[in-house]
Symmetry: C2
Subunit: 450 residues, 2 copies
Amino acid sequence: MPKVAIAGAGLVGALNACYFAQRGWDVEVYEYRRDIRTMEHVPGRSINLALSYRGKCALEAIGLKDYIVSQGVELHARLVHNKDGKTFSRQPYGQPGERSGNESVQWTARSLQRFSLMHGFFFEHKVKSIDLEKKELIVVDEKEVEIRVKADLVVACDGAHSAVRRSLSTQTKFDYSQEYIEHGYIELNILPKNDEYALEPNVFHLWPRGHFTLIALANRNKTFTVTIFAPFSEFEKKMSTPQDVEVFFRENFPDAFELLGRNHLLNTFRTVPPQLLISVKSLLKLQCRPHHFGDFVLLTGDAAHAMVPFYGQGMNCGFEDCLVLSETLDACNDDIAKALSMYSEKRVKDAHIINDLAMYNYEELKDLVNHPSYKLRKRLDLFLNRFFPKLWIPLYSMVSFTRIPYHKVIENRKWQDGILTKIKYSTVTVTTLAALFCCVHFARQRGMLN
Amino acid sequence: MPKVAIAGAGLVGALNACYFAQRGWDVEVYEYRRDIRTMEHVPGRSINLALSYRGKCALEAIGLKDYIVSQGVELHARLVHNKDGKTFSRQPYGQPGERSGNESVQWTARSLQRFSLMHGFFFEHKVKSIDLEKKELIVVDEKEVEIRVKADLVVACDGAHSAVRRSLSTQTKFDYSQEYIEHGYIELNILPKNDEYALEPNVFHLWPRGHFTLIALANRNKTFTVTIFAPFSEFEKKMSTPQDVEVFFRENFPDAFELLGRNHLLNTFRTVPPQLLISVKSLLKLQCRPHHFGDFVLLTGDAAHAMVPFYGQGMNCGFEDCLVLSETLDACNDDIAKALSMYSEKRVKDAHIINDLAMYNYEELKDLVNHPSYKLRKRLDLFLNRFFPKLWIPLYSMVSFTRIPYHKVIENRKWQDGILTKIKYSTVTVTTLAALFCCVHFARQRGMLN
């Protein structure tokens, strides 16, 4: 059986390991963090992510979907919080009563690592580079000894700052771009109130305020993970002292402020001005082409397409990568060279599209959701979807609740836009013609024409 | 005096060394190639480049302009060769009789290295990375021994694949993009004919043919360096066998074909199909932001902004970098931290603009020069320039014959476009009004109105 060396045991690396183990390949995973699989308490942050249909399909193919979904909280609408702190507007993801398929899941890579395989993981082994000629993955172990791992295939899942990608990016023709977005975020928490959720759990809470926004997602332990997104300049200008932070939150998110609590808010911000921007995490948008190198290396997940978090598709797209890779290897009868080039051919354009869409969705979350034309379009989409459920799927639903390839999602959306424009112009034309007809008719009646 | 370590002794590295030596700084230059300064014959290719006003200014400031210009051939117009191989159209760079200031120069980095300083150069020393914290440039000498060079400033001039840039790109917020253009080029030569230039020497020869193009630049030794630019697909489809190459050149560039000679042409192409695309050189477009890291490292030349060669500004922009750096250090009284951030602030946007312009100019060279509207605009620009020589400078002239910052070049061009659009609409309005007036006058005369 062929041997695959996987760089990185994060969510995508661990899922890839599951797939290759199921395939019967010889699997080795190299990860620089230590082994958290048997630990009682995992140090560091867990990640709160929305699991949508693409991610679920990828988990289902290896029998993990139900377990992971059972850890999540279902989401079936957006709830927009107005500035008065008292009124809301609800924007359902789908038709009434329909399960949306979006879940808010709080987990760590451990859940997947435990399922993939207990041997074959090499923790505290830092991936260094690739020797494309000798077909070796070069890693450094915990004693700083360099090890050269022979393999038939390397799958790089070592994240946005991928060492594999960096070591190869100058060796071949490789288009690449990374862009730090001038917006950052800080994470906060809302604790349970009388042992119950302090806010409605099954919705995506949103406080859109023009050029900045706050969101909240429920966790199974009845807490909410709350995130504020804003330009760095806004953090600097409006949130650099405890007084400023309090005023800012009271003014813009009065209801959230009450639930977060003044102490927690101010502690989290650690309000010494020069340090503020260190605690603000930055956003990165990263794209490359191709995703493979020769017949030996494939980039998946953030290593290939780190995106801003505004469509909740970063992990889902990474999970779908694993599924697409598996499907492609099936289609090519495990011919690695053929599969890698076919995978790149297919996946690069999809990754570029969702990457751009994620950036665009920030506009929606910050501002657009409040615009009448946006709301009208949402309602129109849902209305048309009720009558043509297969033909007319709203953009958000195509991305989150189907496996339509991302580039086809955009093609469909353009087709929908074209139809709506035609309808608009036809309506204008018909109305104008009708008005003209009435005028003529009226003039005739009065004997002004004959 | 502060110490500067320069990575790379190419054209930009050697010029930077001249500037810092003149400034009285302690200068060390690290270069992985061997020392060519005292060699009779320099192995490898010399480079044929157009030296324009920006480059000349940078050379003048250290007293090198006259020497380098004396090695060049002046260019004062484009000469467009038509497909019949017999007719031409001439597009002067400036007003008749005016010196354009563009020179075709064939040289190597040696010319500058010889002038900069004879000691302080460390050849066969490969730059590896930067230690930003300890302020060290890490190099590997010819015996593979690692040396850590302490310095007050590192100026990276180590080209498009800069090791300095790579070692820092993941450490800080750094926007970066590299894109391989799907077009490549092959270089050819036209030898002297009876000891004389085989073509007119003082013009830029151009054979624009839609999606591919041929150019020729004179050298002092009476040869011409000829370059064909085309999409890789065109090389593959139309130039993969000797027969194909001959047919292609005879059909598209009949006059150039005669002068190049069949043997030279076919030998250069080395016509085994699978190897063809290896001999075709590829084009890279590279941008980043910022150009500096902390108060220690500055990227200049191709390390900061490798561009496609279609505006002949790659070297000129790199040379101007040296001059701008020197001017900025002057303005900041050698305060390195202040100078680096001021340099980035100023230079990044200029580098982005010329990078995009260089890409756009390919369209001109391939095709636009043949379009009537393009020719009309060129004539109109020259006409207006004759009457308003300071106010109305054509785009090409602003880029090539002035030191107007590239971003201001674009602002001026937009202003010019705005004026021309207004003139166009005013002309239409005046003409329409005049026509109306005539109609009314005519109707009155005939007694149709009273």
